[in-house]
């Protein structure tokens, strides 16, 4: 085991620093979870009676969330593919 790897392992064991990839994957998964929750909330709100202006704003927010979920999944996929390689 190389010295760098050894230090990485010690850091991980002590919980000081999880490996960069793992931490990034965790972050994306957490953001995706929150975005999905937000998507459900916005969808619920759209089902209720809201004025035209609010409806427009909610629809825009929903589209943004869709795009971000799509982008997030892409990044996650990339990381998983790299791991397999």
């Amino acid at each position: 085991m190389g010295i760098k790897k050894f230090i990485e392992n010690v850091k991980e064991t002590l919980g000081l620093e999880s490996s960069k990839k793992e931490s990034k994957k965790k972050s994306i998964k957490s953001i995706l979870k929150k975005l999905n929750q937000k998507k459900d909330t916005v969808n619920e709100l759209l089902k209720t009676k809201v004025d035209k202006k609010t409806k427009k704003e909610l629809e825009e927010e929903l589209q943004i969330i869709h795009c971000q979920i799509k982008n997030g999944k892409k990044v996650l996929q990339k990381l998983e593919n790299k791991e397999k390689d």
């Binding site: 010295i3 972050s27 795009c67 990044v75």
Partner: protein, 608 residues
């Protein structure tokens, strides 16, 4: 200064004379020199590992006083250097990452941690032939020092440092043993209050000369082990070493910044109080030492270990006595040691850097933290001038007041002087950030330099946004009061949109929710496109229907471009400056914020 000039040659002459008349004295002095060199090497080694882990531990373990003290104890025990812990603490204080109370807690803990040195030397160093360990350590250490990898180099310095420490102790011990046959130093000692003060004074002097209480203590222990000094006199010397180390710290703090001076002040007060307690209650502490020693199985005649017990007990007493007064100590130090740089700034309109000072340059991570904090400080000033330049009130922006009302509530009837504000509160700070960044990056890793580059760009973006606000201000004031309701409406829309952006940036600056940051950045990116009044047809409509004059149309076209640039620059700045560096949001915000194609798609759908 004068004293320093005289002191050095005097010491050199005395040493040279000593070497000439006594080869044994030369051996002891060489032992001390090798020991001190070992400490320097050890510090160098631990510095190699201060690229993140050490700082992370420090940051996470100093939020409560007991944790700060614990950190001081453990870090000093592991690194065997209270001065390295002090340097780290001053660096963190300088960057504003910890408060003075926490810093004082660490220094108190370091005082307890430093007592482990006496335990190691008395319990291990003198009981075994440590020079046998020193040689292989030196060989392996030096080989590793020549390696390219930073971690290996660090381990090399630590090994070599320990090797030199052991070798130094060996020479000191040998020197004292040989010295004994020619001169018995113990004959100069004695008991009673007079000798207590004399030996305390010698301890202070020796520590000031050697610049290390650790070295003094090792010298005391080795001398005590061969009976060159009596147990009582060794205790007085140990008290002196503790007081002497504060003088070393004060000399160091003279060239330090205000936080370093305050910490040195706390150190001085702690050690003076502790020393005084130890002198007054000497008999009681000695009784406690006997009691503890017999309970832990230390022989009554093992004076070196008893000295270690004494050293620990009196430092622990000092911490116990001083801890309840930490807050009062902080108030006293902050009140008596004022920041002269801040004091000289009499003009309330004038502002300078808050976090950039030489102490934070000790570590790349503290330098980075200080630069980011200073960038946030610059944003506070930029936020103020941009808001006032748009004739808006800051309190309204950060509130939940409807934006239409925010725009109606004017800051002033007259135009604020953006140039004056820029010169007094932006330009100097910006210049200092750029200058400091250039100095800081020399000790940074390539990854850190890349981050620093982004931070420098964020600062430039901010300054550009202020300058664009100045260009926007003239027509904004003119047309916001215009009798032409169409042009007034357009300029109010610009103000409203920028107010919304500033409000969103305030949310980004204050939230820790990653998804909120990413969502706001994406939303702002879409809203920014609205400023393009040529593309969205607003300008055409106004001209075609002769609702505005040609002059108005030209102004509107230019000013909407300024508004677009302000938004673009502030957004870029917010992403770099306010996204939590500890999380992955920095890189993720780039990848997850919607792309230009997504923006076009959403805007197209909206139009349909």
């Amino acid at each position: 200064m004068m004293l320093r000039r005289i002191l050095l040659p005097t010491i050199l002459v005395i040493l040279a004379y000593g070497f000439w008349i006594s080869p044994d004295f030369k051996e002891i002095a060489a032992g001390v020199a090798i020991f001190l060199f070992g400490m320097l090497s050890l510090e160098e080694g631990f510095k190699a590992f201060s690229g993140g882990t050490l700082e992370k531990i420090l940051r996470n373990s100093t939020d409560k006083l007991y944790k700060s003290i614990g950190f001081g104890v453990i870090a000093t025990t592991v690194m065997q250097s209270s001065s390295l812990v002090s340097v780290l603490t001053i660096s963190f204080l300088g960057a504003g990452l910890i408060g003075l109370a926490q810093g004082i807690g660490i220094v108190f803990g370091a005082n307890i941690g430093t007592t482990t040195g006496a335990w190691l030397v008395a319990g291990f160093g003198l009981k075994v032939k440590i020079s046998a360990y020193a040689m292989p350590m030196l060989v392996f250490g030096v080989i590793l020092i020549f390696q390219k990898a930073k971690a290996l180099k660090g381990i090399g310095y630590i090994l070599a440092g320990l090797g030199f420490l052991f070798l130094g102790i060996h020479y000191m011990k040998d020197g004292f043993e040989a010295f004994k046959s020619t001169i018995d130093l113990a004959a100069f000692g004695g008991t009673g209050i007079k000798y207590l003060f004399i030996f305390t004074g010698i301890g202070v002097f020796a520590t000031v000369v050697m610049q290390s209480s650790h070295a003094t203590l090792v010298l005391i222990i080795t001398a005590l082990s061969v009976g060159q000094i009596s147990y009582e006199n060794a205790l007085a010397l140990a008290i002196g070493a503790n007081v002497g180390t504060t003088i070393t710290a004060i000399i160091g703090a003279m060239s330090s910044n205000i936080v370093g001076k305050r910490l040195a002040g706390a150190h001085l007060i702690f050690n003076l109080v502790t020393g005084l307690i130890a002198i007054i209650f000497m008999q009681q502490i000695m009784y406690s030492v006997d009691l503890v020693s017999s309970n832990v199985g230390i022989s009554n005649t093992d004076y070196t270990l008893k000295l270690a017990v004494f050293h620990t007990i009196f430092n622990v007493i000092g911490v116990v006595v001083m801890v309840p007064f930490i807050n009062k100590l902080v108030i006293f130090l902050e009140g008596s040691l004022k920041d002269t740089q801040q004091k000289n700034i009499n003009d309330a309109d004038f502002d300078r850097v808050k976090y950039l000072n030489d102490s934070v340059l000790e570590l790349p991570s503290t330098a980075m933290a200080a630069i980011i904090r200073e960038t946030k400080h610059l944003y506070e000033n930029s936020f103020e001038i941009i808001t006032h330049g748009l004739n808006l009130k800051r309190t309204n922006i950060v509130s939940s007041m409807p934006l239409s009302e925010v725009v109606d509530d004017l800051y002033s009837q007259d135009a604020v002087d953006i140039d004056k504000f820029y010169n007094n509160r932006i330009k100097g700070i910006y210049g200092d950030i750029i200058d400091f960044s250039t100095r800081a990056q020399s000790s940074m890793s390539p990854e850190d330099i890349e981050v620093l580059y982004q931070v420098k760009l964020a600062n430039r973006d901010m300054v550009e946004a202020v300058k664009d606000t100045k260009h926007l201000q003239k027509n904004l004031l003119k047309y916001s009061n215009s009798t032409n309701k169409y042009i007034k409406k357009e300029y109010d829309t610009i103000r409203k949109d920028l107010a919304e952006l500033l409000r969103n940036i305030n949310i980004i600056a204050t939230t820790s929710e990653d998804d909120v940051i990413i969502l706001i950045l994406s939303k702002a990116k879409i809203h920014m496109e609205k400023y393009d009044i040529v593309a969205n047809g607003t300008l055409d409509k106004l001209i075609r229907n002769s609702l505005v004059t040609n002059e108005m149309a030209t102004s509107l076209m230019n000013d909407s471009a300024y508004a677009y640039d302000i938004s673009k620059n502030l957004l870029k700045m917010a992403r770099v400056t306010f996204a939590n560096r500890e999380s992955d949001i920095n890189s993720l915000s780039d990848e997850m914020t919607i792309s230009d194609e997504d923006v076009d798609l959403i805007l197209e759908k909206k139009d349909n």
